[in-house]
C-alpha cells in the first residue's frame, strides 16, 4: 500500500536523499531547510546546515522560520558569525552541497534569477543572486529545485546568474569554477541529472503518477532520457515519519 503524500512532500524527501551524512550543506529556506531536517532524522544525522547570514546548525530550528535570521534559527546554533566566515567556507571548498531555486534553468543547469528581457531595460527585474551564484560556483555540488514548466526549463537562459555547466562539456572547468556543478534538478514532476560528456541534463527519474510524455511536453528543450531511467522511489514510512516530525503543522501536506 502506498503512503499518502503531496508533490511537495515527495520533492522534500527527494531533496533529503541528496544529502549525505557528515556533509555541510547550504540549506536555504522553505523546502530545502525541511529536506535538511528530514535527512538529519533519517540517513544523515551528522549533516551540518549552513545559512548565508552567518549561522551553522547541527539541528534544524525548533519553531517556524520566516527568514534564516529569525530567533529560532539562532538559539542553540553551532555558530553565529558573519557572512564572510560562512560563505568563506564555501569559497574554501569546505561545503559539500547547496540548494538553490530560480526563475529559469537551462539544459546545462545554468540558472537565471536576475533579468528577463535584457539588462538595460528588463521586462522583469528579478531579486538577483543573493548567495546563489556563490553556491553554484563553489559548492562541491549543486541541487536545484524548480517548478517543471516549459517557460522555466528553457534551452538557454538569457542571463546566467548561477553557473551550471555553461555551454556544456568541460566549459565549466575551463571557466575556472571550483565546484563540480549541478548534480540534480528536482522538479514537481521528475529529477533531471547531468549525463555523458556533454553534461546536459537528462531525465533521470519520473515522479509517481507522472508520464514521460507529460514531462517532455513541459520541458523547454528536447529533453534526453538517461539510460537508467526509473521511477522516483516513493517516500518510505521512515521518511514520512521524519517529515511529519519536522513539518508539525502540515505546511507541506
Amino acid at each position: 500500500m502506498s503512503l499518502d503524500y503531496s508533490t511537495q512532500e515527495l520533492m522534500i524527501i527527494a531533496s533529503a536523499r541528496e544529502i549525505k551524512d557528515n556533509e555541510r550543506i547550504f540549506v536555504g529556506m522553505r523546502l530545502p531547510i525541511t529536506a535538511y531536517g528530514v535527512a538529519r532524522l533519517t540517513h544523515a544525522p551528522n549533516a551540518v546546515g549552513l545559512f548565508e547570514s552567518g549561522i551553522a546548525r547541527y539541528e534544524p530550528a525548533d519553531g517556524m522560520l520566516y527568514t534564516m535570521c529569525d530567533a529560532p534559527n539562532q538559539l542553540g546554533a553551532a555558530w553565529t558569525c558573519g557572512l564572510i566566515q560562512i560563505m568563506g567556507m564555501l569559497s574554501g571548498g569546505r561545503v559539500h552541497a547547496g540548494f538553490i531555486g530560480g526563475a529559469e534553468i537551462d539544459k546545462f543547469g545554468n540558472i537565471n534569477t536576475s533579468y528577463i528581457g535584457g539588462i538595460e531595460n528588463p521586462k522583469v527585474k528579478l531579486p538577483g543572486s543573493g548567495g546563489a551564484a556563490d553556491i553554484a560556483a563553489m559548492s562541491q555540488r549543486l541541487i536545484a529545485i524548480m517548478n517543471h514548466e516549459k517557460h522555466r526549463l528553457v534551452e538557454k537562459v538569457e542571463f546566467i546568474t548561477s553557473p551550471g555547466f555553461l555551454d556544456g562539456g568541460d566549459a565549466r572547468k575551463r571557466a575556472g569554477l571550483p565546484g563540480a556543478g549541478p548534480s540534480a534538478v528536482i522538479t514537481d514532476r521528475a529529477i533531471l541529472r547531468p549525463h555523458g560528456p556533454t553534461n546536459e541534463l537528462h531525465l533521470s527519474t519520473i515522479h509517481p503518477g507522472h508520464s514521460q510524455a507529460e514531462i517532455l511536453e513541459n520541458t523547454g528543450w528536447d529533453l534526453k532520457i538517461a539510460p537508467d531511467l526509473s521511477e522516483t522511489p516513493e517516500p518510505s514510512s521512515a521518511e514520512m515519519d521524519a517529515l511529519h516530525q519536522i513539518d508539525k503543522d502540515g505546511y507541506w501536506r
Binding site: 527568514t67 558569525c81 557572512l83 521586462k123 556563490d134 571550483p178
Partner: protein, 307 residues
C-alpha cells in the same frame, strides 16, 4: 571618551548628504534599522546608493519614496513575501525614476566591503566565473591568477567604501560602544569600511556593561559618530534577544504596495505622517508588544579576571 548620544533626526540631518552611499542594516534579515529608513524618507534625501547583501522592504521603501538612485547588492525584494514592487516599478518602468543596479553575489559584496574596511585595493575570488554578473557589473574584472602557470581565471572585486552605515545593536553606552550577538552578516565589514557610523541602540546601558565583555563588541565604539536610543528601531525585522519578527507587517506592505497609489498611501500612513519613531511605536501600540522578547535564554558567562 566622547559622548555621542544624539537624536536620530539630528544624526541623519548632520551626517547624511544627498547622493551618499549608505549601508542600512547589513546583517541580512535581522537587525534592519527601519527607524533610519523612515528618517531618510521624511527628510527627503535624494540620489542615495543603498548598499546591502540582502535589501529587504527597507530599500523598497526608499526606492518608492524617490530617495534612491542606485542599489549595490546581491538581492532585492521582500524576503518572506516575494518581490519588491517599488524595485520592479523602478527597474522595469522608471517609476518613480530609474534605479541603477550594481549586481553582486553575497560573497563578492562581502569581499568588496572587506576590502573597503581593511584597505585592500581589490580581492581576487573564484566565485562569479562563468556567471553573467561581471557583464552586468563592469566594476568586476575577470583576469588571470599571476601565481599559476597556464590559465587560471579569477574575478577581481574592487574595494567598496560606503559613506554612512546605520546599524542596529542590542545595547550601547553613551560613548558609542555596543554589544551585538547573533549572526551579523556584513555588519562588521560594512561599518568599518564606512566613513561614518550611526548606531541605533535598543537599550542604552552603563559603560561598565559593554566593558564587561570586549569580545562581544562587533564594531569599535571609537569609530562610531552617533548613537541613537531607539527601542524597536528594527521593527518589523527581528533583533536577537529583543524583538521577534512582525511577519504580517512585511506581508501587508507587500499586499498594499502593488500599485504606486497603494504605496503612496502606505508611506503616508506609516512614515510621512509620523514625526518620529516614538510616534511610530505609539501607532503600533499593542501590536508591537507581541514581538517583545520576554523570555530568558542567557549565555554562559565569560571571565576576564586578572588574578
Amino acid at each position: 571618551m566622547q559622548e555621542k548620544l544624539m537624536d536620530l533626526k539630528e544624526a541623519v540631518a548632520s551626517l547624511v548628504s544627498d547622493g551618499d552611499s549608505i549601508v542600512l542594516g547589513a546583517a541580512l534579515e535581522n537587525a534592519i534599522p527601519f527607524a533610519a529608513t523612515h528618517e531618510l524618507i521624511r527628510q527627503g534625501f535624494t540620489g542615495l546608493n543603498m548598499i546591502a547583501p540582502i535589501s529587504d522592504m527597507s530599500t523598497d521603501m526608499l526606492i518608492g519614496a524617490g530617495c534612491c538612485n542606485e542599489i549595490t547588492g546581491a538581492w532585492v525584494g521582500n524576503v518572506s513575501a516575494g518581490l519588491g514592487h517599488n524595485y520592479r516599478r523602478a527597474t522595469e518602468k522608471g517609476i518613480p525614476h530609474r534605479v541603477k543596479v550594481n549586481d553582486y553575489s553575497n560573497f563578492t559584496l562581502g569581499m568588496a566591503l572587506f576590502g573597503g574596511a581593511y584597505g585592500l585595493p581589490y580581492i581576487a575570488v573564484k566565485s562569479l566565473l562563468g556567471s553573467d554578473i561581471p557583464k552586468s557589473n563592469p566594476l568586476l574584472k575577470v583576469t588571470d591568477n599571476p601565481f599559476t602557470e597556464g590559465e587560471d581565471p579569477v574575478v577581481l572585486v574592487p574595494a567598496l567604501k560606503p559613506d554612512v552605515a546605520f546599524l542596529s545593536m542590542q545595547r550601547a553606552d553613551r560613548f558609542g560602544n555596543a554589544h551585538y550577538w547573533g549572526s551579523y552578516g556584513l555588519t562588521q565589514e560594512s561599518s568599518i569600511a564606512a566613513e561614518k557610523i550611526i548606531v541605533l541602540a535598543d537599550e542604552i546601558v552603563e559603560p561598565e556593561v559593554i566593558a564587561s565583555d570586549p569580545s562581544r563588541v562587533v564594531i569599535p565604539g571609537f569609530g562610531v559618530n552617533a548613537v541613537c536610543h531607539i527601542p524597536a528601531a528594527c521593527h518589523p525585522s527581528p533583533l536577537i534577544g529583543c524583538w521577534t519578527r512582525d511577519n504580517e507587517f512585511f506581508h501587508e506592505y507587500h499586499k498594499l504596495t502593488r500599485d504606486p497609489e497603494g504605496f503612496e498611501a502606505w508611506i503616508k500612513e506609516w512614515v510621512l505622517d509620523i514625526p518620529d519613531h516614538a510616534a511610530y511605536r505609539a501607532k503600533l501600540g499593542e501590536r508591537l508588544e507581541q514581538f517583545r522578547i520576554r523570555g530568558k535564554a542567557l549565555s554562559a558567562p565569560a571571565n576576564y579576571a586578572v588574578e
